[in-house]
């Protein structure tokens, strides 16, 4: 009874409509912040979720002009210049094969007898640290007759979808292809040797047939000693291949690269920036509406200044008078958080629908981050509310 009167005296000057608007505003702000965080995390996840050669690898070469008769090569100083750029962590050289190689595939496939096909091949190699392949088969040591290779997946697609169907040949799924060994004949320097080849993986990014680098060195020395070693292609590892610093350097030096990679990098950067802006905008709205909240609490206490002063004179401690105000503020914060979370969940369902309609699925891994951000904002707000109420009651009591 007395407790109820005590609360009534302190909280009687509440204006429900002002409060509801403040809650709705803060709820919407929090929700926007949560969406921004979620999409930001999701975009990063999508962009990181790329094939074998990771998202930050770019292959560059020099532009071929009318003046070149041979493929232009990169000098050591040009490689060093690239390494000096802040955004570039690592540079790897492509080593081309200088020997002759041909493969023969024997078909015990689909009832065909005899040779399936025979083809001349050209290999390249890059340092192992540029190859992100979880396959124990990707290694070679002197004396091994088995050579693992990595093949552009485009190559297989062309074979399966264009060549095989047109020539009435059996199609070969990638998994099956991995289990097939083929004959490799390598020759040069008046020597000819037979090897077995097997496919260790497929790359979407490097448009070349790769063999382990140590095999390449061994074979080049054995079948074509004393050739030119400077690379014609380089592979870069960059934080962001679309960084202006990198783009400018490539342009100034007439280096070429796969446009697609750079476009993707630019898109990613743009998306990340946009989502970050959305999250920041949300945080800004949250900050503004939180200020509104704090002021509402202070105003509520201020409107009861006489009651606070009188109760204090009667012998009620400031501590006791802070409690109803803080409870009230905490209740409103919880309502705000719930409003934001419900709005967020509705948006989330809407977004999933929108994306799946356009045949695209978001990983939706970002929502725990959104929730964490909202909870952190709520706790921060609770703490700020407590401080401001404490100060306000202290000011008004005497």
């Amino acid at each position: 009874m007395k407790k109820a009167l005590f609360q009534k005296l302190l909280l009687s000057k509440n204006r429900p409509w002002q409060l509801r608007l403040a809650i709705l505003g803060s709820g919407i702000g929090l929700c926007i912040m949560m969406l921004g965080v979620q999409l930001w995390v999701d975009v990063r996840t999508i962009m990181q979720d790329k094939e074998m050669l990771g998202r930050d690898f770019v292959v560059i070469s020099k532009k071929i002009t009318m003046l070149n008769t041979m493929a232009p090569r990169f000098s050591e100083s040009e490689i060093q210049d690239l390494l000096n750029l802040n955004s570039i962590d690592d540079v790897g050289k492509f080593t081309p094969s200088r020997f002759k190689a041909s493969m023969t595939m024997n078909a015990q496939l689909g009832g065909f007898g005899g040779q399936l096909f025979k083809s001349d091949l050209f290999f390249e190699a890059v340092p192992d640290r540029f190859i992100d392949i979880e396959n124990s088969a990707w290694k070679w040591k002197p004396g091994d007759k088995n050579i693992p290779v990595i093949v552009p997946s485009e190559f297989i697609k062309q074979y399966n979808h264009a060549f095989a169907s047109w020539q009435n040949m059996p199609v070969i799924p990638e998994n099956l292809l991995k289990s097939i060994a083929f004959e490799l004949e390598i020759s040069g320097n008046e020597k000819t040797d037979q090897f077995k080849g097997s496919i260790a993986g497929f790359s979407n990014r490097i448009q070349a047939i790769l063999v382990p680098e140590n095999f390449m060195q061994y074979a080049n020395n054995r079948y074509a000693p004393g050739g030119e070693n400077a690379p014609t292609r380089l592979i870069l590892h960059a934080d962001n291949p679309a960084a202006p610093e990198v783009l400018n350097h490539l342009k100034e030096n007439d280096f070429e690269t796969a446009e697609e990679k750079i476009k993707e990098g630019k898109t990613r950067l743009l998306l990340e920036v946009v989502m970050l802006m959305v999250a920041l905008l949300g945080a800004f709205i949250v900050a503004l509406s939180m200020m509104g909240f704090l002021q509402y609490n202070q105003l509520l206490a201020y409107r009861s200044a006489y009651e606070i002063q009188t109760l204090h004179r009667l012998g009620y401690s400031q501590k006791a008078m802070i409690i109803p105000y803080f409870r009230f503020a905490a209740r409103n914060l919880i309502i705000t958080l719930l409003t934001a979370i419900i709005l967020f969940a509705l948006f989330e369902i809407g977004i999933i629908g929108l994306f799946s309609q356009s045949g695209f699925s978001l990983p939706l891994t970002g929502w725990p981050w959104s929730l964490a951000c909202a909870v952190v904002a709520g706790l921060l707000m609770g703490w700020l509310s407590y401080r401001s109420i404490k100060n306000q009651v202290g000011r008004l009591a005497n």
């Binding site: 007395k2 009167l5 204090h312 004179r313 012998g315 009620y316 400031q318 501590k319 005497n398």
Partner: protein
């Protein structure tokens, strides 16, 4: 809390005045169980005196002590506890909650040690029993002053501070109020410090002090 000791106190707003009375700028001790009436004209600091002892003003020079404790060293919430248990104050501006009834106002004391029957008996003697369940905002000033008096008396105290307690009462009601105050203060063995703007005839057995 046996003694209230004022040592060379002068409120900041009065710091230009020379003093010359028996409290400001004096060494003054109030003893528990004794009754004092402080008499002075307007603007001499009667309410300030009450608020200094009550702990809600500290803009004064000099020092005040409860026994050995300097009032300046008591934290606001500790002072509130002292007011709740040891010092009962009837303010000149009454400090009632106008939207609450008389009874609710009386019950808003942090602690009451008298029951509802006792409260009704006091209200009856003071002639406001019929108004006990009316909001204080709808009462006359005289009635409100009697509500404030009851509220100050039904809570535990060692000291009772009365700031112009009879300013809105007629002579008969003032006399009844004085009887009740004396009874209860005696029962509680409490000291009284009252202030009065004019005549102090009502205050029998009070030591008269000029500010």
């Amino acid at each position: 809390m046996q003694l209230i000791h004022f040592f060379n106190i002068i409120p900041e707003p009065l710091s230009d005045s020379p003093g010359g009375g028996r409290i400001w700028r004096q060494n003054r001790v109030f003893f528990t169980g004794k009754n004092y009436v402080v008499q002075a004209g307007s603007g001499r600091g009667k309410t300030t005196l009450v608020n200094i002892i009550g702990g809600t003003r500290n803009d004064y020079r000099g020092d005040a002590f409860f026994d050995e404790t300097n009032l300046r060293e008591i934290a606001p919430d500790d002072f509130a506890e002292i007011r709740a248990m040891k010092i009962s104050i009837m303010h000149q501006d009454l400090r009632l909650f106008s939207e609450l009834t008389a009874r609710q106002n009386i019950e808003m004391n942090p602690q009451n040690d008298k029951d509802a029957l006792f409260i009704e008996k006091l209200a009856d003697r003071l002639g406001i029993l019929p108004q006990l369940d009316k909001p204080c905002g709808r009462m006359s000033l005289g009635q409100q002053q009697r509500v404030a008096l009851i509220r100050a008396l039904v809570r535990p105290f060692e000291w009772l501070l009365l700031d112009e307690p009879f300013s809105h009462l007629d002579a008969i009601n003032a006399k009844i109020a004085m009887e009740i105050i004396a009874e209860i203060a005696k029962e509680r063995e409490a000291g009284i410090i009252a202030t009065s703007l004019g005549s102090t005839n009502m205050f029998n057995d009070f030591e008269m002090l000029e500010l």
